[in-house]
């Protein structure tokens, strides 16, 4: 479980995150949603320590991450898997080497054990047999899946996904969403997904935090969001006429 308590962050005079609190539950897909520039990615970067909080606490199972020393932070980070928006795979390494990298760094596994683990992770993300390909040889969806395989290689307790569906077609997006959800349930991890893909919100949003202008604006789940009367959230969710029609069709059925 990860809990953020009253976190705030400013860049210069611009207050980007304003007193946000939320509990990200274990074994659930926790979503952070909001418009572009609302502060979603900043919250994630504050949580993993890529930015420092100005005030507030980020508690990993009770441990306040910003207050820890470098070594203690590194220990927590070893339990984190992260899927970056662009994948962030190491270009000079094959898929196999990319996935094996955290195992090389932090485990005492034998070569055979590492190879088994790599194949297991590749199978999980439906990329079996692609071990020797380089990131440059993969499509956008394959890159995301490969990055997900690397994120889960070292059995993370916490999984962060920054806009896992951006730039993907609807079919591939569903594959990625399903993968994230099944991994979360199978390994009972705390998953945090940043998205503004409404399909993801409806499909996998077990707990949702809506951020509006850097503030905690609304909390609920995928069912609640379709019934919301919160004006800003309604604007966000039903921004497209298509979504409105889908919603009305479902409601009238």
């Amino acid at each position: 479980m990860i809990e953020i308590k009253n976190i705030s962050k400013s860049f210069g005079n611009n207050k980007v995150i304003d007193d946000v609190s939320f509990v990200f539950e274990q074994g659930k897909t926790n979503l952070i949603i909001g418009e572009s520039g609302s502060g979603k990615t900043t919250i994630m970067k504050l949580m993993v320590g890529l930015h420092e909080v100005d005030s507030g606490e980020v508690l990993y199972d009770g441990l306040n991450f910003p207050a820890l020393d470098v070594k203690e932070k590194q220990e927590i980070r070893k339990k984190i898997g992260m899927l970056f928006q662009g994948g962030a795979l190491f270009d000079s390494q094959t898929l196999e080497e990319n996935i094996q990298f955290p195992l090389d760094m932090f485990t005492t596994m034998t070569k055979a054990e590492k190879s088994d683990r790599v194949n297991f992770c590749l199978e999980k993300v439906q990329l079996s047999g692609k071990n020797k390909l380089y990131p440059g040889e993969l499509s956008g969806g394959m890159k995301k899946r490969a990055a997900l395989a690397r994120a889960i290689a070292n059995n993370p307790q916490y999984l962060f996904c920054d806009e896992p569906n951006s730039g993907l077609d609807p079919k591939t997006s569903i594959v990625i969403d399903n993968l994230i959800q099944s991994l979360t349930h199978e390994f009972n991890i705390t998953t945090i997904v940043i998205t503004h893909d409404m399909n993801s919100v409806v499909e996998i949003g077990q707990k949702i935090l809506y951020i509006y202008k850097g503030k905690h604006w609304w909390t609920g789940n995928s069912q609640d969001i379709l019934k919301t009367t919160n004006p800003e959230l309604v604007d966000f969710v039903f921004a497209s006429g298509f979504m409105k029609e889908v919603f009305n069709a479902v409601k009238n059925r």
Partner: protein, 246 residues
């Protein structure tokens, strides 16, 4: 103020670079990879430049030494001194600052803008140590060998050109190479090489590591890496020369 900001940030980065590695065996593999990447791949260009420069030094010296009181073995002596003291340790390092510096800065800069460095940090890896330490170690290890090869090929180039243009005999040139040799000059040369290797790799890594933005900024980082490495090589060349020769 800008200078102090960069100096402070550079030394903080260097402190992180030299903190204890997470896993030595992985770092060792990286060092071997970097020796090949930034060292061995530079061998052809160094070999070509050194051979021809050695030849040119000999030809120019032969043209200048017209007085009968200057012995012909002076050609070998001049070529040796030029290659050992200045051309191989300084000029070749300046050339390498261009090749290695831009390579290192653009590689690390690209990793920064594509979030690969963030990925390392989130895995719990000291990204500065993991990316930069192997480059510095590889540079400091391999450059003395490259420069030794450059010295040999430069003198050999001088020998070939000297004989081919009939400026002197083989015996005279070889005698000149051996004449008045002072071993401490090799210490001076290789001290310079190790210093320059550290400067090139660390400064280029610094500019790459702190790249922000996109492709344009990666290009700017590469340019800054080459410019500042070259300027610092010249400054340290002056300081070390003053130190050894006084």
């Amino acid at each position: 103020m800008n200078l102090f900001f960069h100096l402070g940030r550079y030394f903080i980065l260097i402190k992180r670079v030299f903190s204890k590695p997470e896993k030595l065996s992985v770092y060792m593999k990286q060092i071997v990879h970097e020796v090949d990447n930034i060292g061995i791949s530079s061998l052809p260009i160094i070999a070509i430049i050194s051979f021809f420069m050695g030849g040119v030094i000999t030809i120019q010296a032969a043209y200048g030494f017209t007085s009968p009181i200057v012995p012909l073995y002076a050609l070998g002596f001049t070529t040796r001194e030029s290659m050992l003291l200045e051309f191989s340790p300084t000029i070749v390092c300046l050339i390498l600052a261009g090749k290695m510096g831009s390579n290192i800065a653009s590689e690390i800069g690209s990793m920064r803008i594509t979030e690969q460095i963030d990925a390392l940090e989130i895995m719990g890896i000291n990204s500065a140590g993991f990316l930069i330490l192997p480059k510095i170690a590889a540079g400091v290890l391999i450059l003395p060998f490259l420069i030794a090869i450059s010295m040999f090929l430069g003198i050999f180039g001088g020998y070939v050109m000297g004989i081919a243009t009939e400026a002197c005999s083989s015996y005279e040139f070889i005698f000149g190479i051996q004449a008045f040799f002072e071993p401490w000059k090799l210490w001076y040369s290789f001290t310079k090489v190790i210093t320059f290797a550290f400067l090139i790799t660390s400064i280029s890594s610094y500019f790459g590591y702190y790249t922000h933005g996109g492709a344009l900024e990666v290009g700017k980082s590469s340019t800054s890496a080459v410019v500042y490495s070259s300027i610092l090589i010249l400054i340290f060349n002056f300081l070390l020369t003053q130190l050894f020769f006084t």
